[in-house]
């Protein structure tokens, strides 16, 4: 797992751009699944995980975009 000080947010998105990298929740590793299920739709940040990149869209209970900072 990539260890960084960067944080991620998991924000709901409406329209999915044609060029977005869209992944289903089942494609993520356990750490990334834990992060998405913990942060999805909540105004919180979590530690970045190696399996999620800035801009990725994840299909979970809705479509969520990963933002890192």
């Amino acid at each position: 797992m990539r260890e960084t000080d960067r944080r991620i947010r998991v924000r709901r998105v409406g329209l999915i751009p044609d060029d977005a990298r869209v992944r289903h929740f089942d494609e993520l590793d356990e750490d990334a699944q834990a992060a998405v299920s913990e942060l999805a739709g909540r105004p919180r940040t979590g530690r970045e995980t190696g399996d999620l990149d800035d801009g990725d869209v994840v299909k979970f209970t809705d479509y969520y975009q990963i933002r890192t900072r």
Partner: protein, 412 residues
């Protein structure tokens, strides 16, 4: 001379094998043969396309240029009709022959058709390929009423598609609950309520005796064994897969509900391997033969198979799978083998949060989480460690359960 690898199938198992072979055997000759007309796509997102939620483009994973860039010879629309294990060659429907040093069979399965009258009528759909998803989307968009058959993980995709496309649907189930082998009535009822909210009505102790068709051969109703008639202009059937073993039946390759492989994904023929849905594998976690159709499992099996094609015995498949349903506003996740075991524990841990853990000989073998997925990693860890939790199963139902909770208890 470089080694030559032939892969039959370009799903995630075959494709991950091709990727691994290229990475770890840079000089190898790699050929991928697929009967589909398009290269690797995301099979677990095609339901989103059918729901009308996702365009086509993000579903593609490997453009055809990927194969050129990685020096992989991809042959689309190519049906392998014969495997000659004595001469290390496969033959295609067009008379081509591909010789190999090692062969990987990642040939998957084909949806089963209901063994009832008019089961192949126009408007009755099965769901496996991207082309199936396109046909379903087109058909369901014109539909007003639907019937769904198959009370399992694949059937619920049809329910979600109908719900998303505002099609009123009857979901005909043989028993008294959706996925009754893995859920109790209490857990299943959460799923039933979610279906109802989307206009999909579960019908229990039902099923299909036969379909009725109109003068043009299009489905117009399903009649259940009780004689109840359900009008429909779309039917979705997801009752399981037939594994594509016909190809190996004339060969010495062992089959048993799929192609039998060891933990290195090797068949009983030394230079023939298999990966993905098709395998009946030596499950090191379960301690017996297992099967798994999840995306993660197939991808890992492809990777493991490739490594062992290069050097047999170099990497064993040891994996706890999971499968989620993301159609509703709460998450659902099954892990391991929730339909087996000799006992189980379950609890409603909070409003809308339910879990069930299946055990065998005191060890966790699988389970289902609804609403709260946070214990997933802990339960998978227990499975990987083969931990005996006899006498402590109540702890598994505690909100916030962690493996250390068990350790502390054991040490007392």
């Amino acid at each position: 001379m470089s080694d030559s690898y032939v892969i039959v199938g370009d799903g995630i198992a075959g494709a991950s094998a091709a990727e691994t072979l290229r990475e770890e055997a840079p000089d190898a000759e790699i050929t991928v043969l697929t009967d589909e007309g398009e290269s690797l796509y995301n099979r677990i997102l095609i339901k989103e396309y059918a729901k009308g939620k996702l365009p086509e483009a993000p579903i593609s994973i490997h453009q055809e240029s990927w194969y050129d860039d990685h020096d992989v010879d991809l042959r689309l629309n190519t049906v392998v009709v014969d495997i000659d294990v004595e001469n290390d060659a496969v033959h295609t429907h067009e008379g081509e022959t591909f010789e190999y040093d090692s062969l990987l069979l990642a040939v998957g399965g084909t949806p089963q058709q209901l063994p009832v009258e008019n089961a192949d009528a126009d408007g009755i759909h099965h769901f496996w390929t991207f082309q199936d998803a396109r046909n379903i989307k087109e058909s369901v968009e014109d539909a007003e009423r639907a019937v769904i058959v198959g009370a399992g993980l694949l059937g619920i995709d049809f329910a979600a598609i109908c719900g998303a496309q505002d099609v009123e649907a009857k979901y005909l189930m043989r028993g008294d609950a959706w996925w009754r082998y893995a859920l109790s009535t209490e857990g299943a009822e959460i799923m039933h309520d979610a279906m109802r909210e989307r206009g999909v009505e579960p019908v229990f102790d039902s099923g299909v005796d036969h379909f009725e068709v109109d003068s043009e051969g299009h489905v117009e109703a399903a009649v259940d064994p009780n004689g109840e008639r359900y009008e429909c202009d779309f039917a979705g059937v997801a009752i399981g897969l037939n594994f594509n073993t016909e190809l190996v039946e004339p060969t010495p390759i062992e089959t048993e509900n799929g192609i039998v492989v060891d933990e290195y994904m090797r068949t009983n023929v030394d230079n023939v391997f298999a990966a993905g849905d098709i395998t009946t594998f030596n499950d090191l976690v379960l301690g017996e033969q297992g099967k798994n159709g999840s995306w993660g499992s197939a991808k890992e099996q492809g990777t493991v198979a490739a490594r062992n094609m290069i050097e047999y015995g170099s990497d064993a498949f040891e994996w706890v799978s999971s499968y989620s349903i993301t159609h509703f506003d709460f998450p659902f996740l099954s892990f391991g083998h929730p339909t087996i075991g000799d006992e189980s524990v379950e609890a409603m841990t909070d409003e809308g949060e339910w879990r069930r853990v299946a055990l065998k000989d005191g060890k966790v073998v699988g389970g289902v989480l609804i609403g709260d997925l946070s214990p997933q990693s802990a339960f998978k860890q227990l499975m990987r460690e083969g931990r005996d939790v006899s006498g402590q199963t109540d702890l598994l139902m505690e909100p916030g359960f962690a493996v250390d909770d068990l350790a502390a208890t054991t040490e007392q």
